[in-house]
């Protein structure tokens, strides 16, 4: 029945069937309230599960019941046996579902959301404002001298990172999703491990390993009897390719995470249809799976590229002159913060171009892509012999290079320097890091939910624009963003202080600046894009039909959010929180500038030593950052395992594969549109 779908390079992923919707809604829906609250979707906890009345609900036979995965309609009273694909209604017109909302354009939600979005925008706006007030015009000088090479280097780095992360991320995700080979279940989560290693740490470690005095070159020299560097050739690590490799190794997990989620969510039936139609595995991948997964892959890629753009630690250490390095040069070298902000604005334009390109290329695709998987799980094809080993090697290589080697070096150093590193101070610092990151994660995710839900209620252009601007903090280099945070905070504090001095003769001083609050705010602004992206994608997967149904049953917006959306989005929200948590643990430049007196996080602690090339003393802190970064990986893995156990226990009711997909994938699938 899916065979009549056009299976082409550009899959029309329009599963939402308005015909089915009409038939569902035209029937009299008279659900008893109690029955909804008892056996409604909130309670089932299954993702994208329909408002399934349960056995007692079937006692009202005239009720038509609509499964709320777009495109899946099931009439109540003939509860479909598990594993049978429900008939799909004919494809209908491309009506945009969300325009049906008859709610007022503004409500408490949108006002609060706008306010929050505005506050979160402030740092980015401050940076843009700075760019209008340069100390002097830097451009004639830059254009005449180094601007060209900055831009070329930046583009080269981005291109290299894009190719690298796509190759590793997508290929491993595809292998893991569709094939069975030795170590697969291990690689499934181990491929996320490099995500826990900060780029600046991996850069230090590989330099330590591969430089002239490092073990690799020393070993080679001992082996061949060389003495000096000019007697043999060895690839220099502190180069553009070296920096690219470092960034690829720690950033590919973004692409892996998102493309794996997308592959998992792809309907087995579509892929099988392609097979039935005679598609080879290659065709299956390049003409069906890849185009369908493209939005998700692009989101992952965009995150990786934004991280690349705002990376300063690695490129500075490797003497790669990117625009970000140029920004620091102009700011610190020429004492021209305004000029630096102009370069930051240029970087933002790069990012907007990236997002814009993706949107243009996706213009003809529908919003609702196939979300949850269908009734059957994807079957993985076993690989044998050489091919199995090849697959294992492909998956193992990034893990070894991106995690095992750096972790081994860190452990080695940490043991040597343990006594002088493991102090009371250190434990306090570790606690600081975790508390800060956890608070920031909760804040960012809460704001992400608020913004996403308000947009769902009131899809106005104003709100959308402010959300987009507030997500841009991600692409601004940390130190610049820190200045962007300082400006509004100090302005607020000083204005309040002036006011209080004038009217009450009290000085309030700096209430917010230089406090932990400023740090949490900075983290929130910086990583809101991550939280919002993940939350919004989960939110979008929930069919608006569900809101309509709940609303018609008298639920308020708040009640719909807490009782329907949040339980359904659980895994997306969890992922968002964890990713933000890890990102905060790693955050360095903004933390350095904004922190209160006598306050350290693990990242700043590591940096104080590492910046002086004291890698031994830095290693315990770095190791702890990596270990904490493992927490989300472990948590994700247990979620995956739990969903597997459920399945194994035969709890495969109405939407057997919907839940594993979301728990397994648990990641944003769409950009904000």
């Amino acid at each position: 029945m899916t065979a009549d779908k056009p299976v082409t390079g550009r899959v029309k992923a329009r599963w939402g069937s308005s015909a089915a919707y009409h038939s569902a809604m035209s029937a009299k829906v008279s659900w008893p309230r109690e029955s909804l609250s008892e056996s409604g979707p909130v309670q089932t906890g299954l993702n994208n599960t329909a408002v399934h009345p349960g056995p007692e609900g079937q006692s009202t036979p005239e009720i038509q019941y609509h499964r709320l995965i777009p495109g899946q309609t099931v009439a109540v009273g003939q509860n479909p046996p598990c594993g049978v694909i429900a008939p799909r209604a004919p494809d209908a017109t491309g009506r945009k579902v969300r325009h049906r909302y008859g709610l007022p354009a503004f409500s408490g939600w949108s006002v609060v959301a706008l306010l929050v979005a505005f506050i979160v925008c402030l740092p980015v706006l401050s940076v843009l404002w700075l760019s209008f007030n340069p100390e002097e015009n830097i451009w004639p000088h830059l254009v005449n001298t180094v601007l060209g090479s900055y831009i070329l280097t930046t583009l080269g780095l981005m291109l290299g990172v894009a190719i690298g992360t796509l190759l590793i991320g997508v290929s491993t995700a595809w292998l893991i999703t569709h094939y069975e080979f030795p170590g697969r279940s291990l690689f499934n989560w181990a491929l996320l491990l490099p995500f826990a290693v900060p780029a600046y740490v991996i850069a230090f470690i590989y330099t330590d390993l591969l430089e002239f005095a490092g073990p690799v070159q020393s070993g080679l020299r001992a082996l061949f009897g060389w003495k000096l560097a000019n007697e043999y050739w060895f690839p220099a690590i502190r180069t553009l390719p070296g920096a690219t490799l470092m960034l690829v190794l720690v950033l590919y997990p973004y692409v892996y995470l998102l493309s794996r989620a997308a592959f998992l969510e792809q309907s087995a039936s579509v892929l099988e249809a392609a097979r039935v139609l005679g598609g080879s595995s290659q065709n299956l991948f390049f003409r069906v799976a890849l185009p369908m997964a493209r939005p998700a892959i692009v989101v992952g890629l965009a995150m990786a590229l934004m991280e690349t753009l705002n990376d300063f630690g690695t490129v500075d250490y490797f003497a790669v002159r990117t625009l970000t390095a140029g920004l620091y040069d102009v700011w610190l070298g020429m004492n021209n913060l305004g000029g630096g902000a102009q370069i930051a604005a240029l970087l933002l334009m790069f990012v907007m171009m990236l997002i814009g390109l993706e949107k243009i290329s996706r213009r003809h695709q529908q919003n609702f892509q196939p979300t949850a998987t269908r009734f059957r799980q994807l079957t993985r094809h076993p690989l044998r012999g050489r091919r199995a080993w090849l697959a294992s090697t492909i998956c193992l290589t990034p893990i070894v290079l991106g995690f095992l080697i750096p972790a081994w070096v860190l452990v080695d150093y940490a043991i040597t320097y343990f006594a002088e590193s493991w102090t009371d101070d250190f434990r306090q610092i570790a606690l600081n890091s975790m508390l800060l990151s956890a608070t920031a994660a909760v804040t960012a995710v809460t704001i992400g939910i608020l913004l996403s839900y308000s947009q769902r209620l009131h899809p106005t252009r104003l709100l959308r624009t402010s959300v987009n601007v507030s997500s841009m903090g991600y692409a601004v280099p940390g130190a610049v963003l820190a200045i962007g945070v300082i400006i509004p905070f100090a302005t607020f504090d000083n204005t309040l202080d002036d006011f209080m001095r004038k009217h009450f003769d009290i000085s309030t001083g700096l209430l917010l600046s230089g406090t932990v609050f400023a740090l949490i705010f900075a983290y929130t602004v910086r990583f809101l894009a991550v939280a919002y992206g993940s939350v919004d994608a989960s939110m979008k997967k929930i069919s608006p039909h569900m809101d309509d149904a709940a609303r018609s049953l008298g639920h308020s917006s708040g009640s719909i959010l807490t009782r329907i959306h949040l339980p359904l989005m659980k895994s997306g929200v969890l992922t968002a929180a964890l990713v933000v948590f890890v990102d905060c643990m790693k955050e360095l430049p903004a933390t350095l500038i904004l922190r209160p007196f006598n306050f350290d996080t693990l990242a700043t602690h590591v940096y104080q030593f590492a910046s002086d090339e004291l890698i031994g003393e830095a290693s315990l802190g770095a190791l702890l950052i990596v270990l904490v970064g493992l927490a989300p990986v472990i948590l994700l893995t247990t979620t995956i395992d739990r969903s597997r156990e459920l399945k194994a226990a035969g709890i495969t009711t109405i939407d057997a594969s919907g839940d594993p997909a979301s728990a397994d994938g648990a990641a944003p699938v769409q950009t904000s549109t």
Binding site: V146, E211, F212, A229, R321, L496, I593, F597
Partner: protein, 339 residues
């Protein structure tokens, strides 16, 4: 109800700031561009002597901007900076207040402090040249100008030309010989580079030990650090130390220093700390810990760097270097030194 809430808020805020002020009596707050491992022992000693607690924030950039935006309410009393350029930037941004202290004036030579008493040097370092013991015959490199000799083609390593230490060296040359000469020198050095400028000063010494290059420019205390660490001693011993321009202007000196902020809520304590930093105790800690030259002429340098002997300093006023810094910075771009 609302106004009641508002009043409570105000009261709480006032209480907080009053409490803050009360506590502040026994503290001094420092924004520091210098690493904690350097500053902490000195501050600990200060606290031991005076009972005044020293609170610090260390960062590599952005503290000037933080100070600027915090304005008159800034909690910071002092800012420690690692180079002349940042001192200049702080003064240009009108963040520093004038400090008149007989102690400071007695301890710090005139060329190492601001004419208007807004900044003070605390330690000084010589920008020295090191040459490979095996591959460079003594006498080949004796001045900065020698670095442009054609014999040195492909044999020099330095850090980025935009790093403050390089920029200040070039700024000093501009002051002495004019822009054209400085530009010619910088592009001459670039032509002789063995590799793209990279890494810190320390890494340049390693590169000589490894045979990648033969000559490097660096700050004196890095050699002190390398020689006193058993792990890097062999590396450091593969080079000879040259104090350049002994027959000319003298070796270029740069400094780390301190300013008192305009806001300085704990002015008295801050002044005590400044004076303490210029006194013999703190000066010897700095000297022993980081092998910098004490700025106080009464304090001897560490034994190690004293063993390198006396040498002629370039007595150029640092105000002149601050003035030419921006120009020097642009030269690095113009000759594409890092490219």
């Amino acid at each position: 109800m609302k106004s009641h809430l508002f009043r409570t808020f105000i009261a709480a805020g006032a209480l907080l700031s009053v409490a803050g002020n009360a506590l502040a009596a026994e503290e001094v707050n420092v924004y520091s561009y210098r690493q904690p491992f350097l500053t902490k022992p000195v501050f600990d000693e200060f606290t031991k002597e005076t009972g005044i607690k020293v609170n610090t924030v260390f960062a590599k950039e952005g503290l000037i901007e933080r100070l600027m935006n915090e304005g008159r309410n800034s909690p910071a009393d002092l800012m420690l900076v690692a180079n002349v350029g940042s001192l200049g930037a702080a003064v240009e941004s009108d963040l520093a207040q004038r400090v008149d202290s007989d102690v400071l004036e007695a301890n710090i030579p005139a060329n190492f402090r601001d004419k208007a008493n807004r900044w003070f040097g605390l330690t000084s370092r010589a920008r020295i040249i090191v040459t490979s013991k095996d591959r460079v015959e003594p006498g080949l490199v004796e001045t900065y100008a020698d670095l442009t000799k054609p014999e040195l083609k492909g044999r020099i390593c330095t850090r980025s030309g935009k790093h403050p230490y390089m920029v200040e060296l070039v700024a000093a040359m501009i002051t002495h010989d004019g822009k054209a000469a400085a530009q010619k020198w910088l592009s001459g050095v670039k032509d002789n580079l063995a590799r793209k400028p990279q890494g810190g000063d320390r890494a340049q010494v390693s590169a000589i030990a490894e045979g990648e290059c033969d000559v490097a420019i660096l700050n004196s205390y890095y050699m002190g650090g390398l020689l006193s660490d058993p792990e890097t001693q062999a590396t450091a011993e593969s080079v000879n130390i040259v104090f350049p321009d002994q027959d000319g202007n003298g070796t270029h000196m740069n400094i780390s220093g301190v300013i008192m902020t305009k806001a300085a809520p704990n002015r008295d304590n801050a002044l005590k700390l400044m004076e303490f930093l210029s006194n013999d105790v703190a000066q010897s800690i700095y000297a022993d810990l980081n092998h910098e030259y004490p700025i106080n002429p009464d304090v001897p340098p560490s034994d190690l760097i004293a063993s390198w002997g006396e040498f002629k300093h370039d007595e150029l006023s640092l105000n002149a270097i601050i003035k030419n810094r921006a120009l020097a910075y642009r030269l690095a771009d113009e000759v594409d030194y890092d490219g």
